[in-house]
């Protein structure tokens, strides 16, 4: 169970990204966060694993207050929360396997991992995760030689190395073409259904959100605009979220 209570984030330049956001996510739910660019989606996701420190409010996960954790406690929390990114955030010059193994860093001895030593178990695991996302044969190529969709799958494999209970996906398909977008979303759906991983995913397109979400949360200017069933978003709600001039774009 993830509980967000009165979460507020004000950046140092005075921009208010989140205003008093509260909601709860039960375990195993597939939640999609929608909203315009700059509505606070990324900030919300990053506050949950404290890549960004919130200004105010609390985030409680499985009874632990994430916002109050110190460095060491935060590390232990973070390693149970996987994250994938719009720009994939792979180290482009490193091999795919190295990128995937990086997901295991929270569990390895800091000294050994500095000299690039991982246990046989971790290596087997990395290959297994790559197998799962269907690019095992790319394990020893450089990350920047892969296509966008493949890179995002490496990102998913890296997050899976953490044995996550919660997966944060920050616009995972915004840099991909429609067909690849669906294949990446399918992997997320699989993780949700098969492994029971709770997923919090931000998306641009309502059509994609509707296809995969159990529940949709919409942000507008840092405020919670909508929280409910995907089917409940009608024309009026759509205009509320995206503005009067918005026209629906369907993604096949």
């Amino acid at each position: 169970m993830l509980k967000i209570e009165h979460l507020t984030k004000v950046y140092e330049n005075g921009v208010v990204a989140l205003r008093d956001i509260s909601f709860e996510v039960p375990d195993g739910q597939f939640v999609v966060v929608i909203g315009l660019s700059g509505s606070g989606k990324s900030t919300l996701l990053r506050c949950i694993n404290r890549l960004i420190d919130p200004t105010d409010g609390r985030i409680i996960w499985n009874g632990i207050d994430i916002t109050a954790a110190n460095d060491e406690e935060l590390r232990l929390i973070r390693r149970r929360i996987g994250m994938i990114f719009q720009q994939f955030n792979l180290v482009k010059r490193s091999k795919v396997i190295t990128n995937v193994l990086a997901g295991r860093l929270g569990y390895t001895n800091p000294m050994w991992s500095l000299v690039n030593r991982f246990s046989t178990h971790d290596r087997q695991m990395a290959l297994a995760k790559l197998e799962r996302v269907g690019i095992r044969e790319k394990a020893f190529t450089r990350a920047d030689e892969l296509s966008g969709g493949q890179q995002q799958r490496v990102g998913i494999a890296r997050a899976l190395m953490q044995d996550p209970e919660l997966m944060l996906a920050d616009e995972p398909v915004a840099s991909l073409d429609p067909a690849t977008s669906h294949s990446v979303m399918k992997y997320l759906e699989l993780l949700n259904k098969e492994d029971g991983i709770t997923i919090l995913c931000s998306l641009h397109f309502l059509s994609l959100a509707r296809a995969y979400a159990d529940r949709i949360i919409a942000l507008k200017d840092g405020l919670l605009e909508f929280d409910g069933d995907p089917a409940d978003i009608d024309e009026q709600r759509f205009k509320d979220i995206y503005g009067e001039d918005a026209v629906r774009v369907e993604i096949a």
Partner: protein
């Protein structure tokens, strides 16, 4: 109409301003012209023109090559004052096929002209005519060319010589011609030898600087350091524990390192000892890990601390043993063919030996302060409300005292270091005032754009001036800064202790300012530790970089004597500063995405650097290292001018001896090496980036 005029009048004003700026610029330029003594008269001076032509001509004809020469001699006799009887002066015998000379006249007074004719000389040889008076002190007269028939004719005038008398003077002609092939001259050989020394000097300086600059560059990278924030209480406790840990490390771990060195000198013990230690550590770690303690519990933490302490001891011991083995190998290789390698290994071993106690103390300091902080951290959490501020004040007093004591120790080294305590007092006072202001007005640190910021800054500047004045008087800093003397040796008694009054007063100010700051800050607010480290590192790097290596060279020559080692040290120090800055800018330019991703997996900060940062910076680091080596070769060609070894030392000697042809060889060598390296490093950099 009005609409049109307004811009025009503004345009006129702008034009006037432009004219004024141009006039001011020209005046400034004229002043510069005078200050730098630009003078056309000097360039037109006849004697100077002659000298510069000669010097340039010699510089431009470097004696790179040499050729062996054969020579032959022929003599004639001459009398100063013709004999009264008018008899001809008897001349040497002429042998068949040998060259001979004829002179006419064969007697005369000083300044008389003599025609010298030579026959049967080696064709096209150089003929050197010399005058040898009876005392045998030969003096060169003239040089002329022999024609293709072995004949030459030239005129000399009788030199003014004292004495003379009855004895004959000898006119000697040496015919000289090159034989065999041209070869490199002695000068060239020396220059090449020195050039090799120069290139290696630059290489040593660069390679020694790289690892240090590499580590420093992370501390000087804003994007990495900005994230490093810790609760103020943790920072203060870590700081207070540093000297305690240093002492403990020196006392307890230092001897282990020394033991390692001793064992290492006996090869077998040096290998077996650390091996047993490492195996033992591995065994203990394995046994301990079976205890199955829950992460985050006290037992788990205690195990981690215990293992870390053991690990530090094992590492220091092993390091010591490696140093000892180095010394052993060095001794064994000393008289063999590999003596260079032996000397190298031996020096490294000795370096380890010398630095092991510092390394042990440093490891102790870091370990104790990190362990202590993590132990206390849990407890600090329970101080809420007033207790938060009371504990903050106590820690603040202790840290402030410690900080100012350290500054006072530095100030006791050199008079102008006395500025450092003053600076720290000013910074502390400004920070305190900022906190006071925020407390009473309710302004936050984030209110940067409103009037609070301006008012706060004004007040801070005012307090800075007051604090500086007060600290200057209180610490009697005039003695240091104006008189250039060290702080007075007077002591103050505090109970059983006796401390220098200067140090005591500095500590007192630190206690007061630290106490105020600690009280206001409390122990839970975040302290920007990273930015403090960042600013300190950047300041030191910038200060070091602004001192030319030539000046550093002077200091190092005094320390380690004239020679390339002084040059290596000077260039190394400057390279650390320059590379530290270049590297850190590369770190600041990397893609933040991978860092974010690695952090999100629960990696530690070191792991984040190893997996998110290092892979991205390898190519630019290699490129900048090449670039720095290139710069160091240029610098090392002149570091010799202050005694730093390399080719510069040779060049300076030859210039001072006015041997411009030899100097020309050195200049030529520098030009070749620098342009070759320039080209090489440019093409390598192109490939890397």
């Amino acid at each position: 109409m009005n609409n049109n005029q307004f811009p025009t009048s503004r345009g006129a004003l702008r034009k006037l301003l432009l004219v004024l700026v141009v006039v001011a610029g020209v005046l400034l330029y004229a002043y510069g012209w005078r200050v730098t003594d630009i003078s056309l008269d000097e360039t037109q001076d006849q004697t100077r023109q002659t000298s510069v032509t000669r010097a340039l001509r010699e510089l431009l004809s470097p004696n790179v090559f040499d050729q062996d020469r054969d020579s032959e001699f022929a003599d004639a006799y001459f009398a100063i004052g013709c004999p009264d009887d008018g008899e001809p002066i008897p001349q040497p015998e002429r042998a068949e096929g040998e060259p001979y000379i004829e002179i006419s006249p064969d007697c005369g007074e000083r300044d008389d002209a003599i025609t010298v004719t030579g026959h049967h000389f080696h064709t096209n040889a150089d003929a050197f005519v010399r005058w040898i008076p009876p005392n045998g002190q030969s003096r060169p007269m003239v040089r002329t060319d022999v024609d293709s028939g072995g004949y030459f004719q030239t005129t000399i005038s009788v030199p003014s010589l004292r004495g003379g008398g009855d004895e004959f003077h000898t006119i000697e002609v040496e015919g000289s011609w090159p034989v065999g092939l041209p070869h490199l001259s002695k000068t060239t050989e020396t220059v090449i030898e020195k050039m090799v020394e120069t290139i290696f000097l630059a290489l040593m300086a660069t390679t020694l600087a790289v690892p240090i600059a590499f580590v420093l560059s992370f501390f000087a990278a804003r994007n990495l350091m900005r994230q490093v924030r810790m609760p103020a209480g943790d920072v203060l406790i870590a700081f207070i524990l540093l000297p305690i840990g240093w002492a403990l490390g020196d006392l307890l771990v230092g001897p282990i390192g020394a033991l390692g060195v001793d064992w290492g000198k006996d090869l077998v013990l040096g290998i077996v000892g650390p091996a047993i230690a490492m195996v033992a550590y591995g065994g203990i770690a394995r046994v301990a890990s079976t205890a199955g303690l829950q992460e985050g519990t006290v037992g788990h933490r205690a195990r981690k601390i215990g293992l870390n302490v053991l690990l530090v001891a094992v590492i220091i011991f092993t390091l010591g043993a490696v140093g000892g083995i180095g010394i052993w190998i060095g001794d064994k290789l000393e008289d063999t063919l590999l003596s260079d390698l032996g000397n190298f290994v031996n020096t490294l071993g000795t370096l380890v030996d010398l630095s092991i106690s510092v390394a042990a103390a440093l490891a102790g300091a870091l370990l104790v302060s990190s362990v202590g902080t993590s132990l206390v951290r849990g407890g600090l959490r329970y101080f809420e409300g007033p207790a938060n501020h009371i504990v903050g004040a106590v820690l603040g007093v202790a840290s402030g005292t410690l900080l100012m004591a350290m500054m006072a120790v530095i100030a006791n080294q050199a008079a102008w270091f006395g500025l450092l305590p003053l600076l720290v007092v000013v910074i502390l006072a400004m920070q305190d005032l900022g906190l006071i202001y925020n407390r009473f007005t309710g302004a936050g640190h984030r209110d940067e754009a409103n009037t609070h910021a301006t008012l706060r800054l004004t007040l801070q500047v005012a307090v800075a001036v007051v604090a500086f004045y007060f600290a200057y008087r209180f610490l009697d800093s005039g003695r240091l800064i104006v008189d250039g003397r060290l702080p007075s040796a007077l002591k103050t008694e505090i109970g059983p202790f006796s401390v220098k009054t200067y140090t005591f007063r500095a500590m007192l100010m630190g206690a007061v300012l630290g106490g105020i700051g600690g009280w206001l800050l409390g122990i839970h607010r975040n302290f920007p530790l990273g930015m403090t480290v960042y600013n300190t590192t950047r300041t030191i790097l910038n200060a070091l970089r602004s001192i030319e290596p030539l000046i550093m060279g002077i200091v190092f020559v005094i320390w380690v004597g004239i020679g390339p080692f002084a040059g290596v040290l000077a260039l190394m120090l400057h390279s650390i500063a320059a590379l530290g800055k270049l590297y850190s800018e590369q770190v600041e330019n990397i893609d933040p995405g991978p860092i974010e991703a690695v952090q999100a997996t629960g990696a530690t900060r070191l792991q984040m650097i190893a997996y998110g940062v290092v892979p991205q910076i390898v190519p630019p680091y290699i490129a900048f290292t090449m670039y720095r080596w290139d710069i160091n070769v240029r610098m090392s060609t002149i570091i010799g001018f202050v005694g730093g070894g390399g080719i510069g030392f040779l060049l300076q000697q030859q210039i001072n001896l006015l041997r411009y042809r030899e100097a020309g060889v050195a200049v030529l060598a520098i030009a070749i090496v620098v342009s070759v390296l320039d080209f090489a490093s440019a093409s390598i950099r192109e490939r890397m980036i």
